[in-house]
């Protein structure tokens, strides 16, 4: 069995679905971030797969590299926010942190 574009896209879709599920259902801010990472990775996988099978260029790779950088930056900022949140509210549950001031 040869591995085709469909397989990549299927994996990517599963990844996206799992990430989205985590983002929508988890209450824990850290788990939420992890879901976001999954979604980003699913997107990255798509970029690379399309670059390999459809485009033939390097554009997809470049975009994927940017996305990884962006994800790193995002994780850094997001974790800082989560840290500040925890320090202020004493919890990382996003449902209980529903106002801007205490």
């Amino acid at each position: 069995m040869t591995v085709g574009l469909e397989h990549y896209l299927t994996v990517s879709a599963l990844l996206f679905g799992l990430g989205l599920y985590a983002v929508l259902t988890r209450r824990n801010a850290v788990a939420l971030l992890m879901g976001v990472e999954l979604i980003l990775n699913a997107a990255n996988l798509n970029f690379v797969a399309f670059a390999r099978y459809v485009d033939g260029g390097v554009d997809g790779h470049i975009v994927a590299a940017f996305v990884i950088v962006l994800a790193a930056a995002e994780a850094a900022v997001a974790l800082a926010i989560v840290l500040a949140m925890f320090r202020n509210f004493g919890t990382v549950n996003v449902d209980t942190v529903n106002r801007l001031k205490r």
């Binding site: 983002v23 929508l24 996003v94 529903n98």
Partner: protein, 719 residues
């Protein structure tokens, strides 16, 4: 005097008293002596002018001479009315009567009203009355006759109620005014019938028109009775006489001027002036009403103890004579009696005023023996009494005799003897009660020493008019009857053929009336010259004795038979009238001086009669029981109608409006407010609903986003 001068003089006579009124009314308080000298002197000038006109007509001696002038007063399309002055013999007589009595009353009032709080107002009102009365006399059309007619009514109202703070005076003037309204209603109806039929108000145009084409059916009688109703009201004829005795509430000079000599004679003058407009039917009514009034007045005067009330009923009785004279076709005799009567009742009233002034009471039983205290008043009063009683050689004898002769002739030719009999009885009663008055007041012993002691003769301003009037009461008639003496120079039955001829002549000449004068803006212009003394001299010689029936009925065949009847009537009436007058005086003398007849025992024998007379035939009670009650009931009915129907409609409208408002309120509350609130509720509900979406949970938003994207994908795929 030229005609123009006569008209100007007449105008001045009319306007001078008005000037007196205006000046005294507005400035009286500021003038020295409150302006009484102004009123008296203006009246003096008026009197001189009146005498001047009188002298002119005396010189001309043609009763048919008439001078008319006027201006167009109203011009309303097809309706036009002229304001004009008419001067003829009858006018000249009336001018002298009115101004003479008015002047003497002015003079008398200077003494009588001295010190009154509203002294100047009294003279102002006297001037106003004189003006109105002269207006009646000088007017040449029914319209202005009516206007001035109402003005004298007003003046009478003001003067009767001069002491308006006295409730009885206030009631009396109201009564006089309202009673006169009843008569004036008929008067106005009569005027309107004639105007509708002939289209003019002018006397002589009406006469000519009515002569040429008389109104058909009963309309002429109806109109005549209507005109006569005005006379019934103003001249206090039964059954509208009830206001006159009450009118004595006014100051005594007013009673003398208005309610004895002039205003009450206005009704008689009116009938005499408009005689051609009365048909035999209405004249019969006039004759009977006059005779009944003469009788009623005389009988009531017999039992009255109040000197002024007694004189008031005496006046009613005398007015009845004049009116009856009009009805029986002795119009000149009636006018003659008006002329002589003007002086002696004025004298009687002024004399009674002098007495009242002295003893401060009007009750004759409290007087007596005043003869020595007040000689001038006594002698003048006695002369007036002789005159009114019809003693020969005094003025009243000639006029009353002529009237009785006319009544008898009427009875003989028409078989209506009742007026004559009533008048004859009244003549006897007149002599009786007038002498009773003299005996009770001036003769015998004083019955109230206190009052008698304080009594004194009045000042000269009061006695001079008395003496003047006494002289006039003797000589005013001359010593011959109205149709052969000097009076025939002034008053004679209308010469209808001449009037018709003049009317048609004037019509042929172009404009009938003063239209050209008005067009050129001239105020007074003489017209219709028709004074031909030579031609007239023949006319007034014609009736030998008594009167030619003035309504022209028997004029055509005024043959030997009629002359004979009138001659017989004249002799018979004269003898009878002297007899009844002598009898009256004799009975009075026996009763009150000799004491042969005891008045109380006679009255005790006839309690019913006394009761009826003392209560004046229950006229007031009759009206109270019928007209007043009906009026009150009708007012109550109207009130009830007002309360039930009108108020019902108004309240119903209110209720309806309220109900409608209630419905409108309901609609407002539920529909309009419902819409407004509904919008609110919808918005609020929508807000409630959509609030659920805005959870504040980022994850649910994200879920919506994803769902939406998926939805969009499917939508676009489907497209």
């Amino acid at each position: 005097m030229s005609e123009h001068a006569i008209l100007l003089t007449a105008l001045a006579i009319l306007l001078l008293p008005l000037l007196s009124y205006a000046v005294l009314f507005f400035f009286g308080k500021k003038l020295p002596r409150q302006g009484d000298w102004l009123g008296v002197s203006l009246l003096g000038v008026t009197w001189l002018l009146a005498v001047r006109i009188f002298a002119h007509f005396w010189a001309v001696g043609d009763p048919g001479l008439r001078i008319e002038g006027g201006v167009r007063w109203l011009d309303l399309g097809r309706f036009t009315a002229d304001a004009g002055i008419l001067v003829d013999g009858m006018t000249a007589i009336m001018l002298v009567v009115v101004t003479t009595v008015s002047l003497l009353v002015h003079l008398f009032s200077v003494g009588y009203m001295h010190g009154d709080r509203r002294y100047e107002r009294f003279f102002a009102f006297l001037g106003f009355f004189t003006f109105s009365m002269l207006g009646i006399v000088l007017s040449n059309s029914l319209l202005f006759l009516y206007v001035f007619w109402e003005l004298v009514g007003l003046a009478s109202y003001l003067l009767i109620g001069f002491y308006f703070d006295k409730p009885s005076a206030a009631a009396a003037n109201k009564k006089a005014f309202l009673t006169n309204r009843v008569g004036d209603f008929g008067f106005f109806t009569g005027i309107l019938i004639f105007f509708t039929a002939y289209g003019t108000f002018n006397y002589f145009e009406l006469f000519a028109a009515a002569h040429l084409s008389p109104l058909s059916g009963g309309l002429l009688t109806l109109a005549g009775v209507g005109l006569f109703m005005g006379c019934v009201g103003k001249s206090a004829q039964a059954p509208l006489h009830i206001w006159l005795p009450d009118a004595m509430e006014g100051p005594t000079p007013v009673s003398a001027l208005i309610h004895a000599a002039t205003m009450v004679a206005a009704g008689v003058y009116m009938v005499a002036r408009l005689l051609p407009l009365f048909d035999p039917g209405s004249l019969l009514v006039v004759a009977y009403v006059g005779a009944i009034t003469a009788f009623l007045g005389a009988t009531i005067a017999v039992v009255k103890t109040d000197i002024k009330k007694s004189l008031a009923y005496s006046t009613i009785s005398q007015l009845g004579y004049m009116v009856m004279a009009m009805g029986v076709g002795a119009a000149s005799a009636g006018m003659f009696h008006l002329w002589t009567h003007a002086f002696f009742p004025a004298l009687l009233f002024l004399g009674s005023g002098s007495v009242i002034h002295a003893v401060h009471t009007q009750e004759m039983p409290l007087m007596g023996g005043l003869r020595h205290k007040m000689p001038i008043t006594f002698w003048t009063f006695l002369i007036a009494t002789l005159a009114i009683s019809g003693v020969p050689f005094f003025s009243g004898f000639y006029s009353k005799d002529a009237i009785l002769a006319g009544a008898l002739a009427f009875g003989m030719t028409k078989s209506h003897y009742v007026p004559f009999l009533l008048a004859l009885i009244a003549a006897g009663l007149t002599a009786f009660y007038m002498f009773r008055m003299v005996f009770l007041t001036f003769m015998g012993k004083p019955r109230d020493e206190e009052r008698h002691h304080h009594a004194h003769e009045s000042p000269w301003t009061m006695t001079v008019p008395l003496v003047t009037l006494a002289v006039l009461a003797v000589v005013s008639s001359g010593w011959r009857g109205p149709s052969e003496g000097w009076f025939s120079r002034f008053v004679a039955p209308y010469d209808m053929e001449r009037i018709v001829e003049q009317a048609s002549g004037a019509a042929h000449a172009g404009e009938v009336h003063a239209v050209p004068a008005a067009a050129h803006g001239e105020s007074v212009l003489p017209q219709e010259p028709h004074g031909e003394p030579a031609h007239a001299a023949a006319t007034h010689e014609a009736p030998a004795h008594g009167e030619a029936p003035a309504h022209g009925e028997a004029s055509a065949h005024g043959d030997a038979h009629d002359t004979h009847v009138r001659h017989t009537a004249h002799i018979t009436a004269m003898i009878l009238s002297i007899l009844v007058a002598g009898l009256g005086i004799l009975v009075s003398w026996l009763t009150y001086i000799r004491g042969r007849i005891s008045a109380p025992s006679v009255l005790a024998r006839l309690p019913r009669v006394h009761h009826v007379l003392q209560n004046m035939y229950f006229f007031d009670e009759f009206y109270a029981a019928t007209i007043y009650r009906f009026t009150l009931w009708f007012s109550w009915l109207n009130g009830a109608f007002d309360r039930v129907v009108i108020d019902g409609i108004v309240n119903g409208m209110g209720y309806l409006t309220r109900s409608l408002s209630w419905f409108a309120g309901l609609a407002d509350r539920y529909v309009v407010d419902g819409l407004v609130n509904g919008v609110g509720v919808v918005v609020q509900g929508a807000g409630e609903g959509f609030r659920r979406v805005q959870t504040g949970r980022v994850q649910s938003y994200l879920a919506y986003v994803c769902f939406s994207v998926l939805l969009l994908v499917f939508v676009f795929r489907a497209l």
